[in-house]
């Protein structure tokens, strides 16, 4: 059921169906955890006053508590009946805040050999969380300890909880490409979007009193340039394109080979960022004996993130890898390998920003 409000928006469960939908696929088997994506985004978009604590693109070590800390337990999104799940506004500390360093003292105070760089948060305290505080800790016990990296941005959802929560009608989904944007002239900084987003990818700018988030680099995309996080990624794991482009890698990975899965689909927002789940070496016992029936990263853990299809996807990936190793053709492996950069990874966005 839907009702038209006087703000002119369809609310309460009606899907925002744009003409086309831009999407990304992250191949987690390629992520190096180098944070080049986070830094390229930060340099491009979040350098203004009030944005110092913002990381629209982050990379979390999994298993881990993530950014903001314990975001997976905060609620938001939709329950199985399609009703909104109440949630909370993540705090600056939970996001990791912005740290200030005593650079003046170390670099210009003549104490460079005795004083070391030390961060403090906005409250002047020692930080106890950061955008990837539990980096490389991971999970499991020796000799089967394990981790992998999970890059996260705004998912530009088809059923965006942020959009539907906003009392101002300040959030919209673009018809031409499905990019979800916040109109900062209409935003009054009420932060219901921060609550309702189950992925917690929205930040509050306390200087401008508005909320801000990943914009899918729409000014670049409009000029045929890939988003900064994708173009700068040295691991070349971030595929970008339209879901309906049957010749593009996104359609192939999501719909044709069905190896790219959304993160926490059960949150009900229909995310448009997809992940190729990570393969892992087999488990070993204390004597180094390999047990090929057990993967190092427990499949149940991956199912908790990417849903029940993980097992099938990992089997397909293994089988295709096998084929490739034997010299047989595999279109799936060729798609994931990306022989030609940039045309194989974001065919509609190959324009070099340096040439604009």
């Amino acid at each position: 059921m839907s009702e038209k409000t006087d703000i002119g928006r369809e609310l309460d469960g009606v899907l925002q169906k744009p003409k086309r939908q831009l999407a990304m696929v992250f191949d987690l088997n390629k992520c190096l955890g180098c944070h080049t994506c986070s830094i390229s985004c930060k340099r491009q978009w979040t350098r203004e006053e009030g944005m110092d604590n913002m990381w629209w693109a982050v990379v979390n070590t999994m298993p881990g508590k993530g950014t903001p800390k314990n975001w997976e337990g905060m609620g938001g999104g939709w329950d199985e009946k399609g009703e909104p799940r109440p949630s909370k506004i993540p705090t600056r500390d939970e996001f990791g805040d912005a740290w200030k360093f005593n650079k003046e003292e170390v670099f210009h105070g003549g104490k460079g050999k005795t004083v070391y760089l030390k961060p403090v948060n906005t409250k002047g305290e020692d930080p106890d969380w950061g955008p990837n505080w539990d980096e490389d800790e991971g999970g499991g016990e020796y000799p089967n300890s394990h981790f992998f990296y999970l890059p996260r941005i705004c998912n530009h959802c088809t059923h965006p909880a942020c959009l539907e929560a906003c009392p101002r009608g300040a959030i919209y989904k673009r018809d031409e490409d499905g990019v979800v944007l916040i109109n900062d002239k209409q935003c009054k900084g009420f932060r219901f979007c921060m609550e309702a987003c189950p992925y917690k990818r929205i930040y509050y700018n306390h200087v401008r009193d508005v909320t801000q988030k990943c914009i899918f680099c729409f000014p670049r995309v409009e000029k045929g340039v890939a988003p900064a996080c994708a173009r700068q990624c040295p691991g070349r794991l971030r595929f970008v394109g339209y879901l309906d482009d049957e010749n593009g890698p996104i359609h192939k990975l999501v719909h044709k080979f069905k190896v790219a899965l959304p993160l926490h689909q059960e949150y009900g927002t229909q995310p448009n960022v997809y992940y190729v789940p990570p393969l892992s070496p087999p488990a070993v016992d204390m004597h180094g004996k390999v047990d090929p029936s057990k993967p190092r990263i427990p499949t149940e853990y991956l199912e908790g993130l990417f849903g029940p299809r993980v097992k099938d996807v990992l089997a397909v990936l293994e089988a295709e890898k096998e084929k490739k190793a034997k010299g047989l053709p595999s279109e799936l492996m060729d798609t994931l390998i990306v022989y030609k950069w940039p045309e194989n990874i974001f065919p509609d966005f190959v324009q070099d920003p340096a040439n604009l």
Binding site: D6, I7, E83, P84, P86, T91, E164, A165, E195, H206
Partner: protein, 216 residues
């Protein structure tokens, strides 16, 4: 309520502690929780329907005018002073007055074709109030050229806020209430409790118009 003419300077009118306010007869306005069912989005309704909010029971209003200006002095109980906006969960205390810009504008934020003008004061900007216009729930827009000054005091568990403006305004003429001596106006009120994360439609409001007779 009569808005008496007192020929004192604007600075006296604008000061909540000025003795001139002793001469104004106050009115106590009952407030109630803005209904959860009337919130503009289902998320907000679902989140707040079983939670207490809008618990400020009343406010006291006084108003005075001089030759050029009008001032409203609002006073309400609030044991916690919330004036900052640094942490993501900081919501400053706030109060607003609503004036209909057409005869049939509903007191629930007006409607299409029947706008209302809002004077909105918030504790993080204690010395000015914003002038907004709205044509329905969830539609308020900040008008660029604000001309409402404010002065606020928090003492003994109470906020006292004076909002002061020229009777007639030129630049915002289409979006702001024009106040003509001799005329009778209507207004209504809202209060937000910052410590309870109140903002937008999560507030206490006055469900009835208060008539203001502007002394000629």
């Amino acid at each position: 309520m009569l808005v008496k003419r007192m020929d004192v300077g604007g600075d006296a009118l604008g000061d909540p502690a000025a003795s001139v306010w002793g001469t104004a007869k106050g009115e106590t306005v009952a407030l109630m929780q803005a209904p959860a069912a009337m919130q503009p989005t289902k998320y907000i309704t679902t989140k707040w329907q079983d939670k207490p909010y809008g618990q400020t029971k009343s406010l006291t209003v006084k108003a005075l005018r001089n030759a050029d200006e009008i001032a409203f002095r609002l006073e309400w109980q609030d044991p916690t002073k919330n004036e900052q906006r640094i942490e993501n969960t900081d919501f400053p205390d706030a109060a607003a007055m609503l004036f209909p810009l057409s005869e049939d504008a509903p007191l629930f934020m007006g409607m299409e074709g029947a706008p209302v003008n809002l004077w909105y004061w918030r504790a993080d900007h204690p010395s000015r109030a914003r002038s907004d216009m709205a044509t329905g729930i969830g539609t308020s827009r900040v008008m660029d050229d604000t001309s409402i000054t404010a002065k606020a005091v928090h003492a003994n568990g109470r906020w006292t806020v004076v909002m002061r403006r020229a009777l007639r305004v030129e630049k915002e003429a289409a979006s702001a209430i024009q106040i003509v001596p001799g005329q009778t106006l209507r207004t209504t009120f809202a209060v937000w409790e910052g410590s309870n994360l109140e903002r937008a439609g999560i507030k206490a409001f006055s469900p009835a118009w208060l008539e203001l007779q502007i002394e000629a």
